[in-house]
């Protein structure tokens, strides 16, 4: 492997200071190629993980994936037509003297992307959440994106599919972001009035104000294996009560047992399940 050659080459340079940087550089390289699976603790090759839809080949742990990766395995090739407008934060609180706004603008995208898509030939409006943008948190812009996704569904008579991955409401936007919890419910109301179904796919994590608004308001709720789905997370519970919750606390499987979600669906089966539902819904009179 090239790593070996690099070690020999650098060894010729000799000094102790160099030894440290060699280790760091090797470590960086290893991190680029391999990642430790939080499910089983084993090292997994990143390229292999991508090929297996982010599911650990050893233990089946579902790693967090990007919006592009999700669209890639879920939708029919080339069918995801992303809405063109770019909706960004207006930083209503002028948080941290504009530092938050600069960070958000540099990212240039929000924690949700939406558009029309097809799953096994059945069309829907898809709203996919992006955990890499402020932990997938719901800003006022995300509220607006979700509202537009609902409106697009009403306009075209299409069902809505939301892939949720969010820590909750965005703290940096305070009460204006909190109000989006209500705002999205009004948008869903219009979808209901048009008698259009709404499917949500809850991924890890689906928490806080996002869990307590549109994510759990769906007609059919699917969840990824092991996904944390809750209003208050285990850390908040521990801080408040001083008791550490069990490891399976508020995980998808325990929600299924308690009748809170309809099905736990591993990634490789999601196309089949969601495609089947959409096909069923499209047969309505």
């Amino acid at each position: 492997m090239t790593g070996q050659g690099e070690i020999r080459e650098r060894r010729a340079e000799g000094s102790a200071a160099c030894a440290d940087s060699r280790i760091v550089s090797l470590r960086d390289r290893a991190r680029r190629l391999w990642t430790r699976c939080p499910g089983c603790g084993l090292e997994v090759e990143r390229s292999g993980l991508r090929a297996s839809l982010g599911v650990c080949p050893h233990c089946g742990f579902h790693h967090r994936i990007s919006v592009g990766e999700r669209a890639g395995y879920l939708f029919d090739p080339g069918s995801f037509r992303v809405a063109d407008e770019i909706i960004l934060t207006a930083d209503p609180l002028c948080f941290q003297g504009g530092a938050y706004r600069r960070e958000a603008q540099e990212l240039g995208r929000e924690a949700m992307a939406y558009g029309t898509a097809a799953v096994r030939g059945s069309s829907c409006v898809a709203a996919l959440m992006d955990f890499s943008v402020f932990g997938g948190s719901m800003s006022a812009a995300v509220g607006e994106i979700f509202r537009r996704a609902c409106a697009l569904g009403v306009e075209h008579g299409l069902p809505l599919l939301a892939a949720v991955c969010s820590g909750g409401v965005r703290v940096q936007e305070g009460a204006p972001a909190l109000m989006q919890m209500a705002r999205v419910m009004f948008a869903l109301e219009e979808l209901s009035e048009a008698r259009l179904p709404f499917i949500s796919l809850l991924c890890d994590p689906s928490c806080g104000g996002v869990a307590a608004s549109f994510a759990t308001a769906a007609d059919v709720i699917l969840a990824e294996p092991g996904a944390l789905i809750c209003f208050s997370g285990p850390r908040v519970v521990e801080q408040t009560l001083g008791i550490k919750p069990e490891p399976d606390f508020s995980r998808a499987e325990s929600l299924l047992e308690r009748g809170l979600v309809d099905m736990v669906v591993p990634r490789p089966r999601q196309r089949e399940v969601i495609g089947g539902l959409l096909a069923f819904f499209s047969e309505r009179g």
């Binding site: 995801f80 006022a140 703290v171 109000m179 408040t240």
Partner: protein, 280 residues
């Protein structure tokens, strides 16, 4: 008075609670109990009242007065059963065409294992959906602490009134400070940044009116504060009751649609385009 002082006022142990307000401002009160599914959550108080001859349905977070009561009422932090009790009242009000008054005063929904096991997030979501489409006027009064989703589950309506020293926030100042600086000690600074006071909320156009409490705050003058709140509630109630239900619902939808704090960068072309390649 800075934001941190307002936070202290909103949490003052002698601050009048929802039950105090009902006692001071209403003539008749019949309290409903329970979720009709196995339990009663005392952190929510709900029932039917008359107020200066007007009939209303009232639901509020109830913190309780005194140490024992506060413990029994769980400091006004509801679990799913508390939210379900409020939902029962909303539905009853709709059936009987009674306007709803929500009294919001909670640090937040209760962060407990059992609450989560019984679907805390689902309960809040259900209440939000119910309030969004409830076919009767809904007046929300923020009377103390307005803590996050647990407050909003009783906090969506046609008019939102806010007591002068009440707060409304997505997170407690302590929580915000520990997230931002990993230090709960900078809560005063965080309180300022969160813009959680009635003045901030009016500036952000999230509320319709601020109800004065008088010098020293509501805990110093509970009767005056309760009567001021009653006056404001009745004013808004009269205006809202005059509206036919369809226009009331349209107006409510529009009220929340207006709460748009975003900035749009126009795309290259209008409508949709094949641009999945742009995804991260």
């Amino acid at each position: 008075m800075d934001a941190w002082n307002v936070v202290a006022f909103s949490r003052h142990p002698q601050r009048p609670t929802a039950a105090d307000f009902i006692e001071l401002a209403c003539d008749y009160f019949f309290e409903i109990k329970g979720d009709r599914s196995g339990a009663d959550d005392p952190s929510v108080i709900a029932g039917m009242v008359t107020m200066c001859g007007e009939r209303l349905a009232v639901a509020g977070h109830e913190k309780g007065s005194g140490a024992t009561e506060r413990k029994r009422r769980n400091m006004g932090m509801p679990g799913p059963r508390g939210f379900a009790k409020a939902l029962r009242l909303f539905k009853l009000a709709e059936k009987l065409s009674l306007p709803v008054l929500c009294l919001v005063d909670t640090p937040g929904a209760y962060p407990g294992v059992e609450a989560e096991e019984h679907g805390q997030a689902f309960a809040i979501s259900r209440n939000l959906a119910a309030l969004a489409s409830l076919k009767t006027p809904v007046i929300v009064a923020l009377i103390g602490e307005g803590g996050s989703g647990g407050a909003l589950a009783l906090g969506v309506g046609d008019a939102v009134l806010m007591m002068e020293n009440a707060t409304f926030s997505v997170i407690s100042p302590e929580g915000c400070s520990s997230i931002l600086w990993r230090d709960a000690g900078k809560a005063r600074e965080a309180a300022e940044m969160l813009r959680l006071t009635s003045r901030d909320m009016l500036e952000l156009d999230l509320i319709d009116a601020v109800v004065p409490e008088g010098p020293g705050g509501a805990h110093a003058q509970p009767v005056a504060a309760a009567l001021n709140l009653r006056k404001s509630v009745l004013e808004h109630l009269r205006a809202l009751s005059a509206l036919p239900i369809p226009s009331l619902l349209e107006r409510r939808k529009e009220r929340y649609r207006r709460l748009a704090f975003f900035h749009e960068v126009p795309g290259d072309e209008a409508g949709l385009s094949v641009s999945a390649g742009r995804l991260p």
